[in-house]
Symmetry: C2
Subunit: 223 residues, 2 copies
């Protein structure tokens, strides 16, 4: 079975990389900074988006692509914040791919947009393998998932420019050593930016917002 | 791309179902009750295993197959509890399949084993699609993942005989309504057994252990 499966997967990844490169050219031509936001289910992707929209109001113009297996709850949460959002339903598929983003872009008005955030399907494994054309992969790890996660799911840590360690307000009640998360993540990816945050209390979010603003300026400068 | 992908995936699933059926015959012939334990990363699969091993000591003879992307931390945790454990490394693959279980069984001495627990890769999406030959799928949802998860990841809820709602000791500190988890899960799967538990405090675990004992007796009776 492995002999059948491996070449198939490789073809799919290669085809995907071509579409992702096309997406990237469109983003660069339009001067839009794009991130691919990934995490386990329930680590706080949509909450982070809500806080990011609130925090950047009046500072940057955002748009969102929401990936979900089959519902549209998250896109509704985002649209209620007054930001343009498009839903992709993967029909059970475990990750977004470059083609889905091309289709979603047909429904987005990207004029004047500074920042496009693509919220991937909740999954700490598969989304890391599929480029969407993003400038940076950003991952969230909730402290409730435990400090062993970099050891067990290394690929996403290796590929993500930013790690947001979320739900730090819960640290007094759980067995999780945040310094171990930092140390283990840095061993996998020495250049990773790490922000400890709580989307519930707002702690630590300003550093994340400043990072986003800096990146938007870089992309606009490079156009 | 969809036109290429769909038939390939269907072939893989059919090939897998054949291997899973072979596994199931071996389990039934040996009178071993087998569960496929699934959840998001960090929801508490390995902690539940540790508590289950402690709770069933002297009551049932257990063995464990541990699925992980590439490490062996969990198998080591299990073996240190004095239970036979075999590690499967999927080399980045996002789920276990029937073939991996056949290979793992070559390294297990299943004589006198009453209960085999297969801990799947941490992923709330893909593992649900691949039968391993288990009698029952069992899933864990941590309350920290949020009460919207049945709405967003329905397949695993639909297919799992048992839902363990874990980390209920954290409820005072988070925004999660457990009654919504129950109601939404029951709408997807009216016959699902739901146990609210805390692997940290031990709360609620006796009902889960009794369920396992009842199932082991059923399988032994049916042999």
């Amino acid at each position: 079975m492995t002999q059948i499966k491996v070449p198939v997967v490789r073809n799919i990844l290669q085809a995907n990389d071509r579409l992702a490169a096309e997406n990237r050219r469109r983003f660069d031509d339009a001067g839009i900074f794009v991130i691919n936001l990934m995490s386990s289910p329930g680590a706080g992707k949509t909450s982070l988006l809500e806080k990011t929209i609130e925090g950047l109001a009046g500072r940057l113009k955002m748009a969102v692509i929401e990936g979900d297996l089959q519902s549209s709850y998250d896109a509704e949460r985002i649209q209620s914040k007054g930001v343009q959002a498009v839903q992709i339903n993967t029909d059970g598929g475990c990750h977004l791919d470059g083609n889905m983003i091309q289709i979603a872009m047909e429904s987005l008005d990207l004029r004047d947009v500074d920042l496009l955030i693509i919220e991937n399907v909740g999954n700490l494994v598969c989304p890391a393998e599929f480029n969407l054309g993003e400038h940076d992969k950003v991952m969230i790890l909730s402290v409730t998932e435990g400090d062993d996660k970099p050891l067990k799911y290394p690929l996403m840590f290796q590929l993500s420019t930013v790690l947001l360690v979320n739900k730090i307000d819960l640290l007094p009640y759980i067995d999780c050593d945040v310094s171990k998360i930092h140390e283990r993540a840095r061993r996998l990816n020495g250049r990773q930016e790490i922000f400890d945050v709580s989307c519930r209390t707002g702690e630590g979010l300003e550093s994340w917002l400043s990072w986003l603003e800096g990146k938007v300026l870089e992309v606009k400068g490079g156009r």
